[in-house]
């Protein structure tokens, strides 16, 4: 059964900081939802191939041709910090 430690591990994997006061309610919500999933164990599915997506298309390729790309200044307009066309991000190495 999911416990607080598991929840914190999931939050770390998801890169989400949780507020201490919401941990209990989140944990309870997740437990209720996971309990509901137990019903899936009733079904025998050894020989059922998984349906791995919504489409039956395969090998969807476009022609290898030049196309138009977004202009650089438009592509950058939503980047929070930028200087002289360079993107500013925090230090990666401490």
């Amino acid at each position: 059964m999911l416990n607080k430690e598991d929840l914190e591990k999931l939050a770390a994997l998801s890169q989400i900081e949780l507020k201490a006061e919401e941990e209990n309610s989140l944990l309870n919500d997740l437990k209720t939802i996971l309990d509901h999933f137990e019903e899936l164990k009733e079904l025998k599915t050894e020989n059922v191939p998984p349906l791995r997506g919504g489409t039956f298309n395969f090998n969807v390729l476009r022609k290898d041709e030049e196309g138009e790309a977004l202009e650089k200044f438009i592509a950058l307009q939503d980047f929070p910090l930028e200087k002289d066309g360079y993107l500013i991000i925090p230090n990666i190495f401490d």
Partner: protein
């Protein structure tokens, strides 16, 4: 008059110069100014720009029969319109300006439609009541103490309250059909792959579809036929030449299945009566019904709440605090991720990301995710079997009438249950239509759902038109 103005009547009216584009857009603008502070359908509204374009369309009148000349539309705020703010109703995108048009928007621009603004939704389209929006709640215009449904609640309200002639929504587990039913309008989720999702902010990519919310099924067909088709920017799309069914009398020869698993305890009395009303009406029109069974229906909710969060946890990884927006204070890179995502995502988004991360994690992947994909196959096979015996399936859209604002916000599981009848069509990729039965209880409408075979969107819409024209 705009309340009752359909897309069809608008196109004819413009063609015959019964009114101008400017007159209609002005009336809609007045309506929004008068009532939308209270209803909360729109997140952005571009009155001046819409009026200017409307005027240009009148001055340089260039109507063509197969266009949507001057048609004023509302667009769900998870669909990109170039140079317009697109928030997905999330704090993390509150200042995001779209750099390009979604394919559906390019197609509608080509057809000369006008965009009035962007409509409210549950954050990232996650919810069934539009209460998960980071910015505002939206009220059901038929009873303002009740929710409009969700996640495309703003689009449904804009159409139902006469603020737009039609709207686009997106549907991952019922987000077009359920709000349409709650607001007494028409909502259509096309076959998976019929409409490009390029420029739709992705939630669960194996389930998401864009579709119309309109006043009539005929209008839904008009909009759908304009946005459908192959797009090299969405590999799931296929060549689609929509073939309208011209002779609606041929509809009578179709056989409609009533799946026993959809008529269960837990359906409210009013919804039962509404469905009986629709079935009786159709029987009088000589439509043939057949009892059928979709035995794995009861597992659909579990399958959906494993597969969808798994895809959500992956799709929402791009909102990292490096791109799009950077708000929280941080001292190193790790903290930047944690804080921006922690503060930027609302509760439901965080819940689903955590759940998705769980079902995909080592040790649980096979037990949850693979098992869900296998049961998804069983659900798909159920439909395949039933469609050997019948042409269409008729079901309720929702188990209850619209619920009260705040009624389910503290119980995610109860909120999830409001989508039990709409989820299976997404899991199987089938076209599904929600339309009013005509039955009402205390002014609140009951809708019903028509599900068809993949690529038979025309039969689903044809059947809907047959119902509404009789």
């Amino acid at each position: 008059m705009v309340e009752n103005l359909t897309v069809k009547k608008f196109i004819n009216g413009i063609k015959n110069k019964e009114f101008s584009v400017f007159e209609i857009v002005s009336e809609l603008v007045k309506k929004v100014e008068m009532q939308d502070n209270n209803l909360g359908a729109f997140l952005s509204f571009w009155d001046k720009e819409a009026l200017k374009i409307a005027n240009d369309y009148d001055v340089h009148f260039n109507f063509s029969n197969d266009s949507l000349y001057g048609l004023p539309l509302a667009i769900k705020d998870n669909i990109l319109i170039k140079n317009k703010k697109t928030t997905a109703a999330s704090q993390i995108l509150k200042n995001y300006i779209a750099a390009y048009d979604a394919t559906v928007i390019s197609k509608l621009k080509e057809a000369n439609a006008i965009f009035l603004g962007k409509t409210n939704l549950d954050e990232f389209a996650m919810g069934s009541s539009t209460e998960n929006s980071a910015f505002q709640i939206t009220k059901n215009p038929l009873d303002q103490s009740r929710v409009p449904g969700g996640s495309s609640g703003g689009s449904a309200v804009a159409v139902a309250s006469g603020e737009a002639l039609a709207a686009l929504g997106s549907d991952t587990g019922g987000s077009i059909r359920q709000p349409a039913a709650f607001c007494g309008v028409v909502g259509f989720k096309p076959t998976y792959g019929a409409v490009s999702r390029f420029g739709l902010i992705a939630m669960a990519s194996s389930l998401d579809q864009i579709g119309p919310i309109t006043k009539t099924v005929e209008d839904a067909e008009i909009i759908f036929s304009k946005i459908a088709g192959k797009d090299q920017n969405d590999a799931t799309t296929f060549d689609y030449q929509y073939q309208k069914i011209k002779d609606l009398n041929a509809i009578k020869n179709l056989t409609v299945g009533l799946p026993e698993e959809y008529f269960i305890e837990g359906i409210s009395n009013e919804v039962s009566k509404g469905i009986d009303f629709a079935v009786e009406k159709l029987k009088k029109l000589n439509v043939k019904f057949k009892a059928v069974s979709l035995p794995h229906t009861k597992y659909a909710l579990s399958v959906y709440y494993i597969i969808m969060p798994a895809e959500v946890s992956s799709n929402l990884a791009r909102f990292d605090g490096i791109r799009y927006s950077r708000n929280a204070k941080f001292s190193n890179l790790k903290e930047l991720y944690l804080k921006n995502r922690g503060e930027g995502f609302g509760k439901e988004a965080r819940r689903r990301i955590l759940l998705g991360t769980f079902v995909l994690s080592a040790g649980y992947y096979d037990a949850y995710y693979t098992q869900a994909q296998k049961v998804r196959r069983l659900i798909y096979n159920d439909f395949e079997e039933v469609f050997k015996k019948v042409d269409l399936i008729l079901t309720p859209v929702t188990p209850t009438l619209p619920f009260k604002i705040g009624e389910k916000t503290n119980s995610p599981m109860e909120m999830y249950l409001s989508d039990i009848f709409t989820i299976p069509a997404n899991l199987a990729g089938l076209p599904a239509l929600s339309l009013p039965t005509g039955f009402k209880k205390d002014g609140l409408p009951v809708g019903f759902q028509i599900i068809g075979k993949r690529f038979e969107d025309n039969k689903v819409l044809g059947f809907g038109k047959f119902y509404e024209s009789n």
